[in-house]
């Protein structure tokens, strides 16, 4: 058993260099069936088997939600990152079999909006590729402002201009072009929703200005991925079953307990239902509680843990399991 979303077995159907930093990857289902429908703003988690390591990186789906024959993602090469983008650029080739998650949308359009005002920075353009395709098909009202370092790094700027013409406005850093943010935010019709995806500095700037200019918080949306579940490996002693186990980086405590042949009760595997609640017998270290079941007081007491989502850092941990 594993937590999170259902997995999809896919094959890489194409790899297309877009510019000096960005490469696009196409996936189809290995069984030839259609992929699940998704909504604009959704991402998938791509599993990368990198030697001994499994990397799990989320990427926005950038194709049209109306076409589920294939999924497309665009990956910007990050030479100093944790290594996922480098793996994608260096090792992923057409014909390679991979596993990706079902789509998950944490950056959904608010369909009540009379107008959608979108602000993208750099590779933050990808969720807007899908959202604009979805809105255009429904006759939705949108306007996209896209900042990039140079024209040659303006990923898909040409495609967007061709598709949507004057609904897309480009800004190039090397030409000192800047979004006139205050003027833009002050001149929108009532009922406009604002979406921003880009570097964290840009998200902070846009959200701060929107708040200062009186935009209700419910009308301001930004892409933020759920906190990562993996963490540093740690050792646990299971007192009742008399076993000592190691919880791997990409593994949950619950999965590690199950892998050791112990079968604790569970229902939701998401930190909500309370079924797998486990008593702590002894510990020397720090708990990383990620559940919604235990109260803050219980978290501070260090007497209980929800092994489906929570972790531990430190010397030793003994559980009543």
């Amino acid at each position: 058993m594993s937590t999170g979303t259902t997995k999809l077995d896919v094959v890489v159907s194409d790899v297309v260099p877009v510019n000096e930093l960005v490469t696009r990857f196409h996936f189809r289902r290995r069984d030839g069936q259609l992929l699940p429908t998704f909504s604009g703003g959704a991402h998938v988690v791509v599993e990368m088997r990198d030697g001994e390591r499994t990397r799990l990186n989320p990427y926005s789906l950038m194709g049209s939600p109306l076409d589920t024959r294939e999924y497309t993602i665009s990956v910007r090469r990050d030479d100093v990152g944790r290594g996922g983008s480098l793996f994608m650029h260096r090792h992923v080739r057409p014909g390679m079999e991979m596993v990706i998650s079902y789509p998950v949308n944490l950056f959904s359009l608010d369909l009540r909006a009379r107008k959608h005002l979108m602000l993208a920075g750099g590779i933050g353009i990808t969720p807007f590729m899908a959202q604009t395709a979805q809105l255009a098909a429904e006759g939705g009202n949108f306007e996209l402002h896209y900042t990039c370092r140079t024209a040659s790094l303006g990923t898909y700027a040409d495609v967007l201009r061709e598709r949507y013409d004057r609904r897309v406005r480009l800004y190039h850093d090397d030409r000192d072009e800047r979004i006139e943010l205050d003027r833009l935010l002050s001149s929108q019709p009532l009922g406009t929703h604002l979406y921003v995806c880009g570097p964290s500095g840009m998200i902070g700037w846009v959200c701060d200005r929107a708040a200062a200019l009186g935009w209700p918080a419910e009308t301001v949306h930004f892409e933020h991925f759920a906190a990562p579940q993996p963490g540093a490996p740690f050792d646990v002693t299971l007192a009742v079953s008399g076993k000592t186990i190691r919880v791997g980086e990409q593994q949950s405590l619950l999965e590690a307990i199950e892998a050791a042949g112990v079968d604790p009760p569970y229902l939701c595997r998401g930190g909500v239902c309370g079924q797998c609640e486990t008593n702590v017998i002894a510990h020397d270290g720090k708990f990383i509680h990620n559940d919604h079941w235990l109260s803050e007081q219980e978290h501070r007491s260090c007497k209980k843990i929800m092994p489906c989502v929570s972790r531990f850092e430190g010397g030793s941990l003994v559980l009543e399991r």
Binding site: T6, F38, G41, L109, L111, C273
Partner: protein, 346 residues
């Protein structure tokens, strides 16, 4: 083969009955001899053959009669079906889900053919054969949600997800246990659950909302809820309280077995792909006491659950007026012996 659909009523002469096979597949909601609220949510995966979980969207012998009853309710009160303007896309999502699931589970009764956005839907029990363009509301006789939920058992609430909350912005609600879509439309999760006793204090709704907003595509979840209804009425709405409320005063020791029904809701929760909304089908199952006690384990357990139910819950579920009569009647079927674990009959 296929299902033999019953010709029966949920009003006036109340001819609704469960066949012996349907009694055994009834989703009895008590896994132990007492009941208290819990976040009893689990993955909605296919269950044993012959159970109500054999298919993720269940169609049973009451299908045709329930759809006829729904049409009667809607003719009297069109506000039982409402969809705010931003929910049309979610309606198409629901239409796809229900057509796919019903065609998958019951190919002898339902057929869906898709050629791009040109779709053909055949519903043999109701004599429907429609071709339409997916996404084009002008090609269907009703909006997409109303069209498909006039052909699907259970109530349906479509929830928009925004601002970390869920909003009841569309629904088809004609078989409800004393709540009103017209009253709740546009409310958020905490607002529409405000009347439920005890659960707020236990923090249940905060946790439940966190779980529901995290439901992922391809991973639906479910829970069971229950109450009791006098006479097999599907429509026990606040709007029609004057019709069914007085039924509660008619229970006598002589007619408990025929009049008192356990009403179980199989609630499931699904992420909708295009709209990113959540659909919440609430499927209602009714069984009269005479039918339920044909399973001795259920008779013993129900006796203990109703006898020991906290007063607040008995009031909220509307049992107070006839609870003593029901407990007395059930007590004669409880020899005090232990009940086996789990929900199912022995």
């Amino acid at each position: 083969m296929g299902i033999t659909f019953r010709n029966e009523t949920f009003r006036n002469d109340f001819t609704f009955r469960n066949s012996p096979e349907h009694i055994r597949r009834f989703p009895f909601p008590f896994h132990e001899d007492s009941y208290m609220y819990a976040v009893n949510i689990e993955p909605h995966v296919v269950g044993p053959k012959g159970s109500v979980l054999e298919n993720l969207i269940d169609v049973d012998e009451h299908y045709v009669a329930e759809m006829q009853d729904r049409a009667l309710v809607l003719a009297e009160d069109p506000l039982r079906c409402q969809s705010l303007p931003h929910m049309t896309l979610a309606g198409w999502d629901l239409l796809e889900l229900l057509m796919e699931q019903q065609a998958l589970g019951y190919p002898e009764h339902f057929t869906l053919t898709r050629d791009g956005d040109r779709w053909r839907w055949i519903n043999r029990p109701l004599g429907i054969d429609d071709s339409f363009t997916f996404g084009d509301v002008s090609t269907l006789p009703y909006g997409p949600m109303e069209y498909i939920t006039r052909q699907s058992q259970g109530d349906f609430c479509i929830l928009d997800q925004r601002d970390g909350n869920l909003w009841m912005d569309a629904g088809m609600v004609t078989t409800q246990a004393d709540w009103s879509l017209d009253f709740d439309i546009g409310m958020n999760f905490f607002e529409w659950h405000a009347p439920v006793p005890l659960a707020h204090e236990k923090g249940i709704f905060v946790r439940a909302l966190k779980f529901l907003t995290n439901i992922q595509q391809g991973k639906p979840a479910r829970r069971l809820n229950w109450t009791m209804t006098i006479n097999p009425r599907l429509d026990t709405s606040p709007e029609n309280y004057h019709k069914w409320g007085p039924d509660r005063t008619t229970v006598t020791p002589e007619n408990v077995g025929d009049k008192v029904h356990l009403r179980v809701e199989l609630q499931s929760f699904w992420r909708l792909p295009r709209s990113n909304g959540i659909v919440f089908p609430i499927r209602c199952y009714l069984i009269k006491m005479d039918e339920l006690v044909t399973q001795p384990k259920w008779a013993r357990r129900l006796h203990r659950v109703i006898r020991d139910l906290p007063e607040e819950l008995a009031n909220y579920k509307g049992l107070t007026r006839y609870r003593a009569t029901l407990v007395e009647w059930l007590s004669k079927l409880d020899d005090g012996s232990p009940t086996s674990p789990g929900f199912g009959p022995d």
